[in-house]
Symmetry: C2
Subunit: 229 residues, 2 copies
Amino acid sequence: MSKITLHYLDKSRAFRVLWLLEHLGLEYNVVPYVRENNRAPEELKKIHPLGRSPILEIKDEQTGKTKIVTESGYIFQYILENYDQEKILSLKDPEQAEQVQYYLHYAEGSLQPPLLMEYVYSLAAQSPGPFPLSYLVRGVLDKISGAYSRGEVKNQIDYLETEVSKNEGYFVGGQFSAADILLSFPLQMAFLRGFAQAKDYPHIKKWLESITSEKSYSAAKDSAAQYES
Amino acid sequence: MSKITLHYLDKSRAFRVLWLLEHLGLEYNVVPYVRENNRAPEELKKIHPLGRSPILEIKDEQTGKTKIVTESGYIFQYILENYDQEKILSLKDPEQAEQVQYYLHYAEGSLQPPLLMEYVYSLAAQSPGPFPLSYLVRGVLDKISGAYSRGEVKNQIDYLETEVSKNEGYFVGGQFSAADILLSFPLQMAFLRGFAQAKDYPHIKKWLESITSEKSYSAAKDSAAQYES
């Protein structure tokens, strides 16, 4: 047996790991952290030198050895390989299992970067400053966004809309998988922050409604509520 | 037997896949693409809707079925799982094999995003414009970079410097692995584009010299030369 501890930062990508653990019915502990000036606090660096969240700490109760697992995509891969024996979230069909693995790389490697860029620009554009400086700043940011990230966000979400429509309402094989959990955060954020309009993506909108009605989502939300400030 | 085709865009992350294939001694074909206005050409979308490179096309010669594999980290994972039977690049020791898998997520998920942001800012700051607008633009970009990506690049490269120094000159287990190949591109670019100074990172500098003296690197460079404009 192993003991799973999730180092959980509020308002972070860590929620997805909580959801994954809940859906697989695994036992886990949570160590919560609260942001300071919008960034992860220094104490997280004691767990892993990069000081980011999520971090999974897995203690083998027999040997007493502790393993630190980071990177959202890799945490998912690790949990699926070691704790999803029935392949409910990694999927039984080999081609579908490969597709799930692909999305574990895609979500962080391709979808998040342009969304992160758009988010940073939106924060910068909102920061107070005397007119016309902030007017000019918004113009500059708009140009940079227009040259790369805005179009790239559209490119990515258009692609995902097609994939959901082709796979009977999910990302892989017409059923709920780990890919759906990992993709939930960037797509929820894209709509919430206005980088894409839910009305333009009816299949993704419906998918989000569907996956967030999973019991494990509510359970994870309840669990997370006590750690979110 | 399967036939491997690499859809290769010049000046892109595709070089690493070429290097991986060379190191494993695999046979492959290359279909080259040339950038248009600094972006991937539309024809790439015929191979995969996202229209990005690298794309691997794997044809099973028995069944005639073709598989499209994308995402640098996932392409590496797929090749290692299916073609590195002797585990020369995925490593034999289970803990080390896990560490290689971790880096396949880390390289694109954590290291590339802040480097991409720094690159986009540097392009924007270089774009011609009348003084004092461009002076102001540089100021704005410098502030955004300072608020997030510049510090994050340092955070990441400091971490990697420590990892190389702890692992006898490589990223995993004191020997050359797929992690080294995947991490080569972002770290070479970070130094080349001035986002970090090689002199501040002696272990990474030495590592780069060491891995680029692999025979497979020269072979990949020779192979790539005909596709790079």
